[in-house]
Structure formats: C-alpha cells, structure tokens
Amino acid sequence: MALSDDLRDLYQQVILDHSKSPRNHGQLTCDCVHVHGDNPSCGDEIDVYVKFSDDGSIADIKFDGQGCAISQASASMMTVKVKGSSRTKVNTLMQDFRSTVMGEGSIQDEDALGELQLLEGVQKFPQRVKCAMLGWRALEQAIQQAEEAKC
C-alpha cells in the first residue's frame, strides 16, 4: 500500500506540523475585530481576531476554532504571513493564495507566498478548497468590517 503522491502533497510535513501546533493560536481581547467563520457542511469553524494599525496594516492576529488539518494549517500559516503586513500586501497575498489553491489565475508575487505555496496540493482535492480558504475568508471579512467602521 503506497501512500499516494497527491495525498503526500496535500498533507506535507509542514502542513501537518502547522495543524498540530498552530501558530498565533488563541484570542485577542482589546480593540480588535473578531470574525467567526464556518463551513456548515463540514462543521469547520474558525474565530479570527485582528488588530489593525492606524495605517490599516495588521498589527496583530490570532485564531482558534476546530476543523480539519487543511483549514487549521492554512489559518496558522496565514497568521504568520500577514502579521505586520500592509493592507496592499495582504490583498495581493490573499489573491495569490486563492489562485494557488484553486489552480487558476495568475500569481503576482510568488516569493511573498513562501510556505503558503505548500498548500497548492489542495488543487487536486477541489472539495478541500473551502477548508483552505476558511481562515482567509474570515480575514477578508475582518478587513471589510474595519473599513466600514472607519466610514
């Protein structure tokens, strides 16, 4: 019984490591935007807490919740990448990451993706795209909320 290559790609060591020991795990309390996201059909849930700087960059971010290895690892890797990044950088990252897991569209800044590129194995498992995107969708909403609050 050989473990399929596709599966090895999906669950690379780094990904499993992130899912077992998620970075930036927990909650932020004061002065932050909190978004709850879920994939009801699979029961994955996530809570993302974002603290924005005055210039809109991400000062701090934490998450918790429950879900499959893909959703947890993706969220963990996301927090590492976006912490301290400017709004513009986060937007590019978000688009590039979506392109990576969907396997469509162009990548603007491959270097910036870094470790996140490891999640391109998700392409072969279309049902898991929404797992990989769960944390990102929550972040996207947090940014929107922050912007609306400013208006």
């Binding site: 050989a2 473990l3 399929s4 499993l16 699979c42 029961g43 849930e45 429950q66 499959c68 290895a69």
Partner: protein, 416 residues
Amino acid sequence: MRIVVLGKTSPMIDLSHLRADFPILHQQVHGEPLVYFDNAASSQKPRAVIQELTRYYEQDNANVHRGLHELSNRATDTFEAARKKVARFIGAANTHEVIFTRGTTESINLVANVWANQYLKAGDVILYTGMEHHSNLVPWQLAAKRSGAVVKHIPVLDDGTLDLSLLDSLLTEQVKIFTCVHVSNSLGTINPVRELCAKARALGITTLVDGAQAVGHLPVNVQEIGCDFYAFSGHKMCAPTGIGGLWGRAEKLAAMQPWHGGGEMIEVVTLETSSYKAAPARFEAGTPDIAGVIGLGAAVDYLEKVGIDTIHQHGRELTAYALQCMAELPGIHILGPQSERGALVAFHLACAHPHDLVEFANTHGLALRGGHHCTQPLMKRFKVPGTSRASFYFYNTTAEVDRMMDILHRAVKFFS
C-alpha cells in the same frame, strides 16, 4: 490475516459469494481494491436491479395507468406488482397503504405537510428525538412554524440510547405527533419503536417512524411496530436512486387532504375546482418514477432471495467484529451503543479530523463518510466536530474490515 472468532462456537455468516452480483464492487480506486463502507449513505445495486431497469426501458417503457395499449398495460402491471411486493415486504395490511415517493425525506415531508397542516394547532407539541436525521427534524420545525406548535425532543444518553426516563414527562397530552428514527444513521442505535409507538398510541398520539436505515437491513413489519406512518428510501436497500415510500395506516390516509395536485390524483377536474381519488393515487400526482418503482420491486425480490434475517444477522456479526477490531485504535471514540446496533460504526480519532481521515482512506480505496451525517445536533451532543463512519451491507466481508483496520492504523501513524 485476522482470524474470525465470533461467539467462539458459531462461525460467521459468509455472503461473499453475493459480491459477484454487484458489478461496482470489483474495481480499483487509486490503485487499490475498492472497499465500500458508505452503505448508510447509499447501498450498491445488484445486477438483477440494474438489468430490470434496462429490461423495462428496452421492452416495456410507457406511461402508467392512463393507457390502453400494450406497453402501458405491461408497465402498469409491473408497477402495481411492485407496490404489492413492497407492501408485503414491510408487512402492510393493505397494498393501498403504500405511497411511492422519492425517498424518506419526501415521505416525511408529506406527513409534515398534509397531516400536520390538518391537525396541528398553536400550542400542540411535536415530539422527536435528539438523534433524528435532518430529514426528520427540519420538516417538523417548518410545520411548527406554520402551525404555532412547538418542537420538543427526547434527549440522547451517553451510550447513544434515548433517555427513556424522561418519556412519561415528555409524552403528554399536548403531544400530537411523535416521530422517531428506527435505526440511527449516526449512532447505529436501534430504537424500541414498538414500545414507543404503543405508548404514544395509547395516548391518541399519531406516530411516524423514520425507517431509512431499517428497511432492507432488518425485518420490518409496520403492523407489529404499530406506528401510523413509516418512511423509507429505496436507494439504501439495493433499489435505484429517486424512489422510496411512505406507508400510512389506511384510516389516517383516508382522512388526509391532497398535497401535490396534478394528473392521476384526480377524479373530476373543472376549470374551477376538482375532486380527488383515494390513497395511494391521491398522493401520487403526475407521472411517477415508473422505472424506479419497478427497480424497487426487483430489489425487494433480490433481498427476499438473500433473506432479510440472513442480512440482519450478517450485519450484526460484521459490526461486532468491526467494533472489536476498532477498539484497539489509539484515541478512538466510538459513538453509539456497544451491543445491539445497526450495521455501522461512527467514530472519532483524536489525531485526525474526520475529513482528513476520510481523505486518507479514500486514497487507499476505502470509502468512508466523514462529517455530521445530517445529524448536526448529535455532533454537538457528543462534542465532536463530526465523525468518520463505516457502514456495512451484506456484501461486505471481514476481509474488508481487516483492510480498513490496516488503513486506519496507517492513518493514525500519519496524522499523530
């Protein structure tokens, strides 16, 4: 190879020769032989059923009931013969008590619309259980909203059985309908539907049993159960997709208004108003799934040939064997009762989310299901994000359980 010892003296029922009847089972998935353990979601179909569909379409296909020509007569005869077979298979007193629907979900919705709209009023109680499938929760929640009735439930104990100590306080005069799953698709629990229905009926409460996981898996006799309605799905019992049934007690059906309007359910139609036939025609508006019904008849024939007692016994033995093997897995949490249960095991591994586990299994040719199994409240109840589920049918073997165990052990290693 694991050695099969069950109850030590009696050897397990071996039905592996029947695998030859199921073309789909003999394929490789990701380079390994398919192990199909997702039978609670949908069963596979024997060649006899598939060929009956082909035979029907190649020889007899025509609309039923309305024709006077040869094909229509043949189609109608086979169609109505299937109704007889189904009626006999579930122990109905009367063939007219069997209404064909798309499946359990539609059957329940029929009652939760027609019966509920006629009889439920504000303040009435709809009593279900904490282990119902969404298909036996949502229709009642919608009915409650329309009527002003309220929904209550019998809670589930840690061992996966109903908390019957609360029964007397819950089964009150306010309850107008009591509905309960016969065999839980998430826990495997076989509920004492006969006793429950007797209690309810003694209080004049109408009863419905969700038999999606029961018909074709264990002997079902609606008269012995003593319910008023019994719902089931063909696709979980070797029949085609898209067909199932609702059994209703004749006197209940006789008092019920139509639901869908259309061809076949009418007597006289004018441009202003219409009169309706009696059941079952009353509840079968429009062209039915003729081939589906005929396929269901063929499935009943097939299951009767195998023998429902044999199927039941095989399921018990294979499940007992699986339970015994799975207990060894580190960090496993098996839901549901330890002993008497339907032929399925839902479980949670500490090291792996169900979706990861099922994905892993799939790349080894093993079809498990992971998720909430349309029982979200149960997942909350047992504080799991979802479970992985292995569900068996008579064509499954201990050798397949052994292969599952190998794969699960590897998964534990991989994800730990």
